[in-house]
């Protein structure tokens, strides 16, 4: 761990000099993408879809922003409350830069929570929704409240560098367990995540796969919510995990569970220092 931290520092500085990265300042998602494309002219992953790059200024995910904002400030649920008192880690109602600093440890629950877990927690605790209400049970699809809220909230962190905190021992523990899970072989076909995301420029059919160690590829890889052109829907980080675990022939992962949180802790950490594209557009 210690060795890794030492190595990470000069890398972050070098990247900073190259001029792509780490800012604590909002940037338009298309501007973030353009800078990454310039910084990595040879990345097959980043350059794989000219069509999507062209579409980026008109990313259909942007259409969810207004609805998401309205849902956030509207008094809703059995408690007739807005989400303004929800603390995503930077204080009640503070959304700027909050999304890129998750997962994190929350004192009020005593555990490390990823974004979706935290959002659902607030919708239940503050607004009074229960697991059976469609407002929280529907997790996927551009029409769901969760995806509209996710897109709006995440957008407030666009261009901020990924910076999930590791100060609390539980945050470090979850990140480290996520690393183990990334390399853990299992399931019917012996896959771990690295089987498909360990080498650069590899393809599964027509999809060029992002490599986890290239943090400028990886920041795009983990930049969800993203509109998935092939599915014509905006998707979340949790949806991506579910999809990859399904392809891996592991067991069926459930939402709001800590295996998700650990994997996200690790993969957001792997993009540390690089600006997030929120929302992104993917194939």
């Amino acid at each position: 761990m210690f060795k890794k931290a030492l190595l990470a520092l000069p890398v972050a500085m070098a990247v900073g000099v190259a001029g792509t990265a780490a800012q604590a300042e909002w940037q338009d998602p298309n501007d973030v993408l353009q800078k990454l494309l310039e910084a990595q002219p040879d990345s097959k992953y980043l350059h794989q879809s000219e069509m999507n790059i062209m579409m980026m200024p008109d990313n259909p995910a942007l259409y969810l922003l207004d609805d998401g904002e309205e849902l956030f400030y509207k008094e809703r649920g059995p408690n007739n409350a807005s989400l303004e008192s929800c603390d995503f880690g930077k204080g009640e109602g503070v959304l700027e830069g909050a999304y890129v600093e998750l997962p994190r440890y929350f004192e009020d629950t005593g555990k490390v929570m990823d974004f979706e877990m935290r959002l659902v927690h607030c919708m239940k605790e503050i607004q009074g929704f229960t697991s059976d209400d469609s407002a929280v049970s529907q997790r996927h699809g551009s029409g769901s409240d969760i995806m509209r809220l996710t897109t709006y909230i995440a957008h407030q962190s666009s261009g901020y560098a990924w910076n999930p905190p590791l100060d609390h021992p539980k945050e470090q523990a979850m990140r480290d367990a996520g690393e183990v899970l990334f390399f853990r072989r299992g399931g019917a076909m012996d896959f771990n995540c690295a089987a498909c995301h360990g080498d650069s420029g590899k393809q599964i059919r027509a999809s060029v796969l992002p490599e986890m160690r290239n943090s400028q590829e990886w920041t795009k890889a983990v930049s969800w919510p993203a509109h998935r052109a092939g599915q014509d829907n905006v998707r979340s980080q949790n949806h991506r995990i579910r999809g990859c675990i399904w392809q891996m022939r592991h067991a069926g992962i459930l939402p709001d569970t800590p295996v998700n949180t650990a994997l996200i802790s690790y993969w957001n950490d792997a993009a540390r220092g690089e600006p997030a594209i929120l929302p992104d557009l993917k194939r």
């Binding site: 629950t109 393809q203 569970t257």
Partner: protein, 229 residues
């Protein structure tokens, strides 16, 4: 190592203070009742998989439940590292090859090739063994081999994967002797016999012997489009 231990000690001390101060509020979730900072990363990963209710309760296609699916066998355990980068440790490689040979069941007598047309379909098909929100039903459709996901076998029919080597003209280059057939059967059944900790799945048990014979025909039959590229 040294630093890790000192950090861990500080962490443990901090955690007990936090607990004593009553910061940690249980949420009705079993995961919260244990001190996750007292575990190694490997222990915590196993804990998260087996003790936190992270999986749907479903019957797997091969039988058993999620727990059976997620329990590692010896080869999976030995290969749970970054095998794409780190040089494979010689001792681990030897052990994995030995385990794979032990698991492998050789067919009796000469190996016959099946029908390459069926093999082409099976090599293309990514159906089978997926579970969770969308369950592959083996009762209505047979499982496939996923070969195109990782190998180019006939680049004229579709876009194919590059995780594994290009297999075009595989048989044309190697011939179709019993020795070659034995080797290919071994690789498809349990590739760790030759490539310890490879990313390629072990298909013995996932595909039937008949399905494997069709796929082998697709690779080795001189008539197969794979060998006429």
């Amino acid at each position: 190592m040294f630093n890790k231990n000192t950090v861990a000690a500080g962490v443990a001390a901090f955690a007990s203070v936090a607990l004593a101060a009553g910061c940690a509020v249980a949420d009705g979730n079993k995961a919260d009742d244990v001190d996750i900072t007292a575990m190694s990363a490997e222990e915590l990963a196993e804990h998260l998989i087996f003790e936190t209710g992270s999986w749907r309760d479903q019957e797997m296609q091969e039988g058993g439940g999620w727990r059976d699916r997620m329990t590692q066998d010896e080869i999976q355990k030995a290969c749970s590292f970054d095998s794409t980068r780190n040089d494979l440790d010689g001792e681990v490689a030897g052990r994995v090859v030995a385990l794979a040979r032990e698991q492998y069941q050789a067919p009796e007598g000469d190996i016959e090739l099946g029908d390459w047309r069926k093999g082409a379909e099976l090599a293309d098909s990514g159906y089978g063994y997926r579970i969770g929100h969308n369950v592959d039903d083996h009762g209505t459709r047979e499982a496939g081999g996923n070969c195109y996901n990782c190998h180019v076998m006939d680049s004229s029919v579709s876009v194919q994967g590059t995780i594994g080597p290009n297999l075009e003209n595989y048989g044309a280059q190697r011939g179709d002797s019993q020795e070659i057939r034995q080797y290919v059967h071994q690789v498809i059944s349990n590739p760790h016999q030759y490539f310890p900790c490879t990313q390629m799945p072990r298909f013995q048990g996932l595909l039937t012997e008949e399905q494997i014979s069709h796929i082998m025909a697709y690779l080795l039959d001189p008539e197969s489009p794979v060998n006429n590229r």
